[in-house]
Symmetry: C2
Subunit: 229 residues, 2 copies
């Protein structure tokens, strides 16, 4: 699994997905598709479903909601997915695929890039009035006990995401940008988890205070070791 580098926001990955990309290897060419090949329907469903799943949650998001959002007939759903669960596994995979870390920032410092990435996530959450929470946290809490397939996919994606944060932390340490000498892998995991917790809290309080707390605690105190308070 690799992270696709995009300039977009992780919280709002769909924006970049609307871009048409022909996946010829995925197209089921049949006689009733005339003219130029179009985007794969399966991919269309996944991408539209990603937004819907994130907005509504698993149980509250019906197959009809998904297909309607994708602009495809409801009956086609099961031509592409054996079940709603299998669909969600594909969505999770897709979520982590399209999630990326912003690279087009002015700063070249590792810590600056780490911070900018979370700030982009923050901006995305703010756009949605803090109503979405964190995709992985949402699914984990709602489905992890009921679907090993989804849980497995979440675990995979989280490991990869944590690895990105870990690498940035390690770089920041090597570059002397932060004073924390904590284990980078542990920091990476903790930071991703704490971010989920902040997003979840923000759903309750409907403001950005939890993220402000996160930035202050993680970047100023934990990583920079600012003990002045």
């Amino acid at each position: 699994m690799s992270f696709v580098k995009t300039g977009g926001s992780v919280v709002s990955p769909v924006g970049g997905i609307q871009a048409r990309q022909a996946s010829v290897d995925k197209i089921k060419l049949t006689g009733h598709i005339g003219g130029m090949a179009r985007a794969s329907m399966k991919q269309q469903i996944i991408d539209a479903g990603l937004a819907e799943l994130h907005a509504r949650g698993y149980a509250a998001c019906s197959v009809e909601d998904i297909t309607k959002a994708a602009g495809v007939p409801k009956g086609s759903f099961y031509n592409h997915f054996a079940s709603k669960e299998e669909f969600a596994v594909d969505v999770v995979r897709r979520y982590f695929e399209v999630s990326g870390w912003p690279t087009s920032f002015e700063t070249t410092s590792a810590i600056g890039r780490l911070r900018a990435g979370f700030e982009a996530l923050y901006a995305g959450a703010q756009e949605r009035s803090f109503s979405r929470g964190c995709m992985w946290g949402n699914l984990a809490n709602e489905v992890a006990d009921h679907s090993n397939a989804i849980r497995g996919q979440l675990a995979e994606g989280l490991d990869a995401w944590s690895a990105i944060v870990t690498e940035l932390v390690a770089q920041a340490q090597r570059n002397g940008e932060i004073s924390s000498a904590g284990d980078p892998a542990q920091l990476g995991r903790f930071i991703v988890n704490a971010w989920e917790g902040a997003l979840t809290r923000s759903r309750v309080v409907r403001n950005g205070q939890p993220m402000d707390d996160f930035f202050r605690m993680v970047f100023d105190l934990l990583l920079a070791g600012d003990a002045t308070g």
Copy 2:
């Protein structure tokens, strides 16, 4: 809202609830209740429902599941609660009421008590093979966007819980037990959020690593300011 001091675990509050307590002011006395007054049916439903909600989540836990767990007839549910939503509000209130911070520990240091409290939570999660996650996080993620009533109750309870952590952090600072001079209120909120994030991750990975990360990052690095890594 006040926290009831118990020696129990927050993750498993139900254990203490099975104790019979007559709530005479809650009893709907009708002619067909003979003999000695018994525990309120409403309270019974709330307490049993708390465990069920935590185990299954909101949507996956039906009213029938709840009443069955409470050992009461399904039709009685609506004598006590106008709706499933209202029931959940009462459950959340109850959850925070019965949640407490362990007081019966050997250490008298504030930081020791804070740590012991989270360790008790950890033990509870471990008992359940990390399958339950965090009650407030679960509900927030599943329901916060759909029910303002539940969300409001969650906000209230979280504020109170954060206040407890805040107070312990402040005491630890005053006592010179920790080197962090961070804002106690901010630390209190962040720590509660980070804990939720850790529990959520533990649901995915099905082990205690996220909590270990939490303890290391929060107690050793963030609060104690141990920069040696």
